[in-house]
């Protein structure tokens, strides 16, 4: 079963088609607080995959009948912008964006504090500006930063990346071509630098041993991203002097 346009090989001389080594991540670019009206915002990019996130809350939840009298309702919404993919993506909901919104909300539910403000909502919006695989991962990374930027209480940041299998070899951070023509794609997200997986989705055939290798490679990748996220937050606010927040 061949796919039209499939390249003969995805790895040549131990280098991937975009020049990377097997365990090399794409260049990461982060911008925290780029949207001034949003309570918190951030852009996170893996190479050509770019995600914008914005976070609001806790705020009064509408519609009222969906309020939870015991805690905050967390709603994460993932969407692909129409011009983000090669072929125009139809704007609005799709089954894929519905599922991703669900699993991303579930991922953040482990770290965002939801019990302090009953009947309120925290809304996180993730918009994929450019899609070149690992969009949900970029989205989660951006959302983590947006939540922190918004001053929303969290146990820790969540970091996410994807591992693939191409030409029989495991690689870190697949890009579009590898995602389309590769054999396996596994997206994961962990809490801080722990082994607690809050997101885990895999397609493709692997043995039990390969699966655990994938989790290990991905986990280490996530830890690298965590360091980058922390650095970006510190950079944005890093200019601290004596003359800052004073007491009354």
């Amino acid at each position: 079963m061949s796919k039209v346009g499939a390249p003969k090989k995805l790895i040549i001389n131990n280098k991937r088609l975009d020049g990377r080594k097997l365990d090399e991540m794409r260049e990461i670019k982060i911008d925290v607080g780029n949207l001034k009206r949003a309570q918190g915002s951030a852009v996170f990019a893996f190479g050509n995959t770019k995600a914008q996130a914005a976070a609001y809350g806790p705020k009064i939840m509408h519609p009222r009948y969906l309020q939870d009298p015991t805690r905050t309702v967390l709603r994460c919404k993932y969407s692909l912008l129409p011009f983000s993919t090669k072929e125009r993506a139809r704007p609005g909901h799709s089954r894929r964006s519905t599922e991703l919104s669900k699993v991303i909300t579930e991922a953040f539910s482990s770290v965002v504090y939801l019990s302090g403000s009953p009947k309120t909502a925290i809304d996180v919006f993730i918009e994929i500006l450019q899609a070149d695989a690992s969009t949900r991962c970029a989205g989660i990374n951006a959302a983590s930063l947006a939540l922190a930027d918004a001053g929303i209480e969290m146990r820790d940041l969540i970091s996410s990346c994807a591992v693939g299998k191409i030409d029989g070899k495991l690689v870190l951070d697949v890009f579009g071509l590898e995602d389309n023509y590769g054999e396996v794609d596994c997206a994961m997200a962990v809490i801080g630098k722990t082994d607690k997986f809050v997101l885990l989705q895999m397609d493709g055939i692997v043995t039990k041993e390969e699966f655990f290798k994938i989790l290990e490679i991905g986990r280490q990748g996530c830890y690298k991203i965590y360091d980058e996220q922390k650095r970006a937050l510190k950079e944005k606010y890093g200019i601290m002097g004596e003359e800052n927040v004073t007491e009354k």
């Binding site: 403000s117 309120t120 001053g151 969290m154 937050l233």
Partner: protein, 228 residues
């Protein structure tokens, strides 16, 4: 073996470990996980004896008893007013707390005291666990704010806006010849000669609260616009 890993005023992010061991206690914005105290927020560390807490650099207003806040009346009910206080929860002003005078509802309509759209500087009387917030207008500092304009800033920037011993806010008041009232909930009321200039200065402080040399920058803005 307890160890403090951060200094006072150090910038931290969610998940950062602030201290180990059981000697230190987690205050606002911190939590304990086994034998570590970690930050829940993006903010600055505040150390007070054994308590570690975080001053947030962003976030919504979390109502606290005793806070002086600026609110807008949004609804009238048989014996109370509903007030928008720029927080995830609305607050209530009961008749019994509305005035030091006796209110006779048979003689006067509630709206003659406070009507929908009125702006008030009130004190938070109580905040229950289920987030029912009640206000009082019987404190000597509380009052209705007539005319003027209101704007809002991130609540965590309020201390910066007020400044050491009120110095920053006084600077703006004198240079713009305005009355200014700042609510702990981030709402600011301005009335006077150069209201626009005052709000410009306030916006500047909000966006650069964490940067050095802010007082000079604000002074320059206020003086440079004398010929406005």
């Amino acid at each position: 073996m307890s160890e403090l890993l951060v200094k006072d005023r150090e910038f931290v992010t969610p998940g950062d470990v602030l201290a180990t061991g059981l000697d230190y206690l987690p205050g606002n914005g911190c939590y304990r996980e086994k034998d570590e105290i970690k930050s829940k927020l993006l903010g600055l560390v505040k150390l007070k004896e054994r308590y570690i807490s975080i001053i947030p650099l962003a976030g919504v207003y979390s109502p606290r008893q005793g806070d002086g806040i600026i609110g807008v009346i949004t609804d009238l009910q048989p014996n109370m007013w509903i007030v928008d206080i720029n927080s995830p929860y609305d607050a209530i002003l009961l008749i019994s707390e509305a005035s030091n005078d006796f209110i006779d509802t048979r003689r006067r309509d509630l709206s003659s005291y406070y009507d929908i759209g009125d702006i008030i500087y009130a004190k938070i009387l109580s905040v229950t666990k289920s987030k029912h917030i009640t206000l009082t207008m019987k404190d000597r500092k509380t009052k209705k704010l007539i005319s003027g304009k209101i704007m809002s800033i991130t609540p965590s920037k309020v201390p910066r806006l007020i400044g050491k011993m009120g110095s920053m806010i006084e600077l703006i008041k004198t240079k713009t010849n305005c009355q200014i009232v700042v609510g702990q909930n981030g709402v600011v009321w301005i009335k006077g000669e150069k209201e626009s200039l005052a709000s410009k200065a306030i916006k500047l402080i909000e966006s650069e609260a964490h940067i050095e040399g802010l007082t000079d920058k604000v002074t320059k803005l206020l003086e440079g616009d004398l010929d406005e």
